[in-house]
């Protein structure tokens, strides 16, 4: 849950990258890290296996600029996409303010995308979220590969809610900030006061 501190004039929001295994969630966060500068820059925390599959989460605290006098801080998390880590995914969704769904555009990954989206919806409902109210954007990742599903088909199959969507090649940074800005806007507009 977002946190607005009126004493220090700060807002804190939690953004989660969700999606099927190997879809590019960790790659998104790594790109954000690479492109951020400043002395207060923190490292990415990655809890992963030896071959770099996420096992619990990646975490990157991001100090942004100010908006209307409030210092803004985003906590970026990725979930582990592999089916096995269902319990961890649920934990990371707790208190989420905004979701970036990273879909893998490859034809053979459509089933995995659909399953992942379904489990996201189940998890959110279980935690009492109203699906229609959770800020969310879609990223069609891996557009550089030859065997990709056409964007209009991705939209038809995965984006029935007609959420904002962005094409991405996270590996080269394409679409990464575009997607992050898009969710940031939705999250900030959805922000309510705090402690």
């Amino acid at each position: 849950m977002s946190f607005v501190n009126y004493n220090t004039k700060e807002v804190n929001c939690k953004i989660v990258y969700y999606g099927p295994g190997l879809g590019g969630k960790t790659t998104n966060i790594q790109h954000v890290y690479k492109k951020t500068s400043g002395e207060s820059k923190s490292d990415v925390i990655s809890l992963n296996t030896e071959n770099e599959r996420t096992i619990f989460f990646d975490f990157l605290p991001l100090e942004l600029g100010e908006i209307r006098g409030f210092k803004t801080r985003f906590h970026l998390y990725t979930v582990p996409g592999q089916a096995f880590y269902e319990a961890s995914r649920k934990l990371i969704l707790r208190g989420v303010d905004g979701i970036i769904f990273v879909a893998d555009s490859q034809v053979e990954k459509m089933d995995a995308n659909i399953k992942s989206l379904e489990s996201l919806e189940t998890d959110l409902k279980e935690q009492g979220y109203d699906l229609s109210k959770v800020p969310m954007v879609m990223q069609w990742n891996k557009r550089d590969l030859p065997n990709v599903v056409a964007v209009k088909d991705l939209e038809a199959q995965l984006n029935k809610r007609r959420l904002p969507s962005h094409e991405g090649v996270a590996m080269n940074g394409l679409g990464v900030f575009e997607t992050l800005k898009s969710i940031s806007k939705l999250v900030l507009m959805n922000l309510k006061g705090g402690l």
Partner: protein, 158 residues
């Protein structure tokens, strides 16, 4: 008095100069957002990461614990050696569960340190029990523009 002042005052009144140097204290929400820290190393530089990790650790431990026949109520989390480590306790602030955590090293008697931390937690909890949270339900910003979002991200290098 703000809750930050409350934590500070309690530390000031209950820690000796040497324990004040040796113990790093933080209070975090369950989602890992740090509400307070005494800014002692390593919290001076890494408190956000520590908050996220410890909150994740706590929640994972709590869930695992639920598989026990008789799930324990008054749980605490420690990850330590005979002279240092991390010690985390739940603390209720305005009726919501938070985490009261400490990191310490080079202690001859860590049992005593843990006792002290429990005492600090208890006192803070008592003070803040009646703190009413002024949760506001109206939107903070209406109509955020693309330009404002671009400004937020102006630090991004190319």
């Amino acid at each position: 008095m703000s809750y930050i002042e409350t934590f500070k005052t309690i530390l000031k009144n209950n820690l000796t100069r040497s324990s004040e140097q040796a113990i790093s204290i933080f209070v975090a929400r369950m989602d890992g957002v740090i509400l307070f820290s005494n800014e002692k190393p390593p919290l001076d530089k890494n408190k956000e990461s520590i908050g996220a990790l410890v909150a994740g650790l706590w929640q994972a431990a709590e869930l695992s614990n639920q598989f026990l026949e008789s799930a324990q109520e008054d749980t605490r989390l420690s990850f330590d050696t005979s002279d240092g480590g991390i010690y985390v306790l739940p603390i209720s602030i305005s009726n919501e569960k938070h985490l009261y955590g400490a990191m310490y090293s080079g202690q001859i008697n860590p049992g005593m340190i843990k006792n002290l931390i429990r005492k600090l937690r208890d006192k803070s909890e008592l003070e803040l029990r009646n703190e009413v949270s002024t949760l506001k339900s109206e939107y903070l910003f209406n109509n955020v523009t693309d330009e404002e979002v671009d400004n937020l991200f102006s630090f991004v290098g190319n």
